[in-house]
Amino acid sequence: MVDRSSPPSRPPLSTASLTLRLTGIAVVVAALAGAFAYVNGTFDPQRLTPKKLINVLETNNGVHPGFRRNHSKGVCVIGHFESSGEARSYSTAQVFNEARTPVVGRFALPAGNPYAPDSAVPIRSLALRFTQANGQQWRTGMNSMPVFPVATPEAFYQLQQAQSPLPATGKPDPGAVPAFFAAHPEAAPFLAWIKTAKPSASYVTETYNSVNAFYLVNAAGKRQAVRWSMAPVAQDAPGATAPEGSDFLEKDLVERIAAGPLRWQLNLILANPGDPVNDASKAWPVGRKVLNAGTLVLESTQPQLSGECRDINYDPLVLPAGIEGSDDPLLAARSAGYANSYLRRTSEVSQLPAAKQEAQQ
């Protein structure tokens, strides 16, 4: 039994022993700190991180404080989803089972500059947040293109780099994007589509596609790979060419929605065995079974800088029970990249032009 009132006798350590023991402590601490630095990527400057992904968007588009780093120009929409019940046997998600689920959405221009003219790109996007009665949410970001240009986040990053301004000229290398596509044959379906695509005059006439694949999971635990699309219902045919001016999309939407609710049909496209589930650059062959899961009804708009959609991160992996992400590597990268963009812009809310104006009113 040690007598605690007086410390046990400890012969002093020799200088060599003391040095060795202190070195031992330093080695243990350094090993743990080094493992941490390895995990957070300090030793791997080549690793693609969420930060790099968003930095390249800022390099290409400039920094617009408070705005999304991509799809920066848009407008909020409010409405609801009416389930048809047709997807009920494929998914336990409440959104497919309840009659009505409230929705906050956002139409946008897939560009990183909030002041870009609406004709800058021939693509439009629609993001939606469904809030189920049980509190779970389904968030989805869809685009009017049928396939994504590339299959991996690394290739997406390289495509952005190819569009970065060169330090010498302040302009992108005109040969860089063609060289990128020459080295990426997987972009062929996208390039074939974009050749015929024209900037639409309206958000309302477009069909919006999930592009990435997901799984529906039913009560028995059976998983069915799907992609989805929102197809306009009884709206005039697409094809109208974009009018003059740079801000026609929001005006058009506000006018149309003032005349009455706008509707889209949610189509769930069921994959056949063997269809590529992890590659958003590849279309699925036509003739796949399609479920009409219900109708999206949009009833009003709000400006994006004061509307409900402003503070929503449309992370495609915020999913309710009954819908799961696939192993498409773009999904995880979108989730990670959006989180980084979201932190940057939520840190800058006070710098938003409309926030300043409204604070004064």
């Binding site: 400890r10 969420p50 930060k51």
Partner: protein
Amino acid sequence: MSTQPNHFAPLARLLHWLMALMIIAMLFIGAGMVASVSERHEWLINLHKPLGVAILLLVIVRLVVRFSTTQPSLPADLPGWQVLAAKASHALLYVLMLVLPLLGWAMISASGEPVMLSSSLQLPSIVSANAQLFAFLRKAHGYLAYLLFLTVLLHLAAALFHGWVRRDEVLDSMLRGKDHP
């Protein structure tokens, strides 16, 4: 025979080593997930949330155990500044163990996302959705996690210093349950 035990209570030792593993795992999971765009990002986030709540529950149990058991005293010959450092770093460890999971929970709440621990297990939001509050909480969560990692390193270095250099009973009091000659 003194009333002061030589060792930490068995439950205190179990909680210490269990939480040591969980917290180090948690710090590595956090560092890895924010630096990754691969499927690992999603996989790690899905671990991070339930593990964080488990740590929150355990630290509450641990605080109860801490205040209801007697701790071995520090060696009588320990220099005053080391006594102060020991007490301050332990207080900081407890505060960070408690605050970090709460910050994580609050920041998800402030983002307006449902706080999901699995595909269907949902916790209530503890603050209402607010973008600026989210940004503040998210940054605090990150910076304080780095502070926790540094404090854990200091704690580890100090424990080894007691065991290998001072050769007193401090490291032993957390390693062993039985007195030994």
